[in-house]
Symmetry: C2
Subunit: 156 residues, 2 copies
């Protein structure tokens, strides 16, 4: 059910992104930019990787990850999103697990998920902890005053 995204998944990926209520326009634009680069260049070692969770022809969620420059075997989980209508079915857990496996297979050691410290993102942070991530570092007021950066890491 989980596989690398192909061109035809694009509209559904972008549609899901636009329906994630905690994503603002900047997040939507950023996913679109990563998707366009993925479509244009595929997944070179230093490029973006997209995985989708499909139920038949329907995309229920996706992840996007990419290697961090100047570090050995460190990948950023840049995006993970599940269709709001398909929550609580294990889609997110399956996607993040598949991403960890893919990163491991590429020689990755660490997967990093950066998120916000606000109440809006509490369930996101709880999800990472449930999946074995640790809030290894934080930067106060990073996103904006009162909105801290929380860096979650997992050794994969």
């Amino acid at each position: 059910m989980i596989s690398p995204a192909t061109e035809k998944d694009g509209p559904q990926i972008l549609d899901i992104t636009s329906r994630i209520d905690i994503f603002g326009q900047e997040e939507v634009d950023s996913v679109k930019e990563a998707w366009e680069e993925y479509l244009a260049y595929g997944s070179p070692p230093d490029g973006y990787h997209f995985l989708v969770y499909r139920d038949g022809e329907t995309v229920l969620g996706f992840t996007c990850y990419g290697i961090r420059y100047l570090a050995e075997g460190v990948y950023d989980l840049l995006w993970i999103a599940v269709d709001p209508d398909a929550r609580r079915k294990g889609v997110g857990a399956a996607l993040i697990t598949a991403s960890e496996e893919a990163v491991h297979e590429m020689g990755g050691r660490i997967l990093i998920a950066e998120t916000s410290g606000t109440t809006e993102y509490q369930s996101t942070r709880e999800f990472y902890v449930r999946m074995g991530y640790v809030n290894e570092a934080s930067i106060k007021d990073f996103y904006k005053p009162g909105d801290d950066l929380k860096i979650y890491t997992k050794r994969v």
Copy 2:
């Protein structure tokens, strides 16, 4: 003495970079890539900025900084380097101070300097602390096993 870098500073910037003993090939390539992007696109709000410290026609050091995506007013101090033959003259302090001022003028709130936790980078870390930076976050074994990421921040 400090001003935005212009095309003719390129060879000296790259020459200094190649003579920094703690920089490996990946660091040298990365500076070159940022420089080429700066030359090609100038400094749009989301691009790279280069400042040089000049003594007459001679470049004694440079900094490169850029905005962090998805955050408000956060800049990364991506590179700071002083000609090994021009150390202990305050060039680095002047460059980082000028960078902070420039970031502040662009509406930046936070300047982030990421560096390594190894002994080789001890004087770099001491430099940041001397300049008012705080080691706000760390990620173990980030660069490679035994080589931690140290994130220094300063409110500017």
